[in-house]
Amino acid sequence: MFPYLNLFGAAIAVSPLLILVGLWFGSWLAEKRAAEHGIRAELIYNLMMIGLAAFVIGGRLSYAAQHLNAFTADPLSLISRNFGLFDPFGGAVAAALAVLIYGQGKEIRFWAALDAFTPLFAVLMAVIPAANLATGDAFGAPSSLPWAIELWGEYRHPVQIYEAIAAGGILYLVWSGRMWKTGEPGGFLFLRFTAASALARLIFEGLRGSSPIGLFNIRLYQLAAWAVLAASLVLLDRMRASVNTTE
């Protein structure tokens, strides 16, 4: 575990640093391949910046709206750097809305845009477990396997490493072109990536020691991953059927 890097006397948090590097690298990869999906590279950059700005502002405003009393007492907290004053769900909704509005204005095709962004999503899926490993978050269940790592008072499954390896493999498939054939209609690459990532999550979530548990002891993230997997496969099936009909 290495949550902080001490550089020139300053403590720099590793987790947000890794995610920033992932965003930069992922968007660079996405820009490189954007043309293959019929999207101009600069639109990828614009969409990412708009989405990012909306995520940050929307997440903070959504959090403030849910805790009005705390922010009324100290309005300057609205611009504080504290990550804890943030609603990721609200941020994601704001980012999705902003990107949709901008995309519609520029007449960007929905599925083609998702395909073009897939390399960025794939990089983030690999970077997030690495960030979790740095902070010790999303840790594994106790294990006596020889490769178990000591974390939080127990030897545990290195789930973050399993997830990073799986995501790295998926990123390779996305980037090497093994997940998508040139000329396929928009959406195939994104849906195959989503299905593969959801399957990986479904498998490794079962080995986590920090899963939120729901009714009948079901791990909630596993349930969500199964739902995403099912939706991706159904959409892929429909797309394949419509392509076959057209042919």
Binding site: A73, N82, G153, L202, S210, L236
Partner: protein
């Protein structure tokens, strides 16, 4: 990509979904969740490691004696800018919730601080919460403090609700966390 017929694709998809559902069922009996009773670790969901330290006035305080109350442990040093910057917010929130079951322990990293400067800072800001002296670095080791300030929000049952590394913390952050802690205490 292998060329699958529509039927082959559907069979593969069904097999994957059945496998997924089966694994989800098996996973219900595997150890999981943040249900980690009894394991002390400086991490949300775990039991807050116990410690006993003396205050600036020489009184001894143990974390385990505060069970049943919401506790904030803030590790700081007088030379640390963000620590100094967030102290007024800590004091304001501590005074605001003075009538509630809330304890704030400001643990001074005394092994890397100057006692006179720390005491002068406490006097200058007229801090009313207990200031503990971690002269041997015991709390910093137990709580794996790698950056100052570090703040641990501890539930009345002794488990950690949240850890905030770095600062300064905004007053709104403190207020929302105190409200959450006190709600859990009810």
């Amino acid at each position: 990509m292998p060329n699958l017929t529509q039927t082959q694709f559907r069979m593969l998809a069904a097999a994957v979904l059945i496998f997924g559902a089966g694994w989800m069922g098996i996973s219900t009996s595997l150890p999981g969740g943040t249900d980690t009773p009894g394991i002390p670790a400086p991490k949300a969901g775990f039991l807050a490691p116990d410690f006993t330290l003396a205050t600036l006035e020489g009184e001894s305080i143990s974390l385990s004696d505060l069970r049943g109350k919401a506790v904030i442990v803030n590790v700081w040093a007088s030379w640390c800018g963000p620590c100094r910057a967030e102290m007024p917010a800590l004091e304001a929130v501590y005074r605001e919730y003075a009538g509630e079951d809330l304890v704030l322990l400001a643990v001074n990293a005394a092994n890397q601080d100057n006692l006179n400067q720390a005491a002068a800072f406490v006097e200058e800001l007229r801090l009313t919460f207990p200031v503990l002296l971690d002269e041997a670095g015991q709390v910093q080791r137990l709580y794996q403090v790698s950056a100052l300030p570090s703040t641990f929000f501890i539930r009345p049952d002794g488990t950690i609700m949240e850890v905030v590394f770095g600062g300064p913390m905004a007053e709104a952050l403190l207020r929302t966390r105190v409200e959450m802690l006190l709600q859990e205490a009810e």
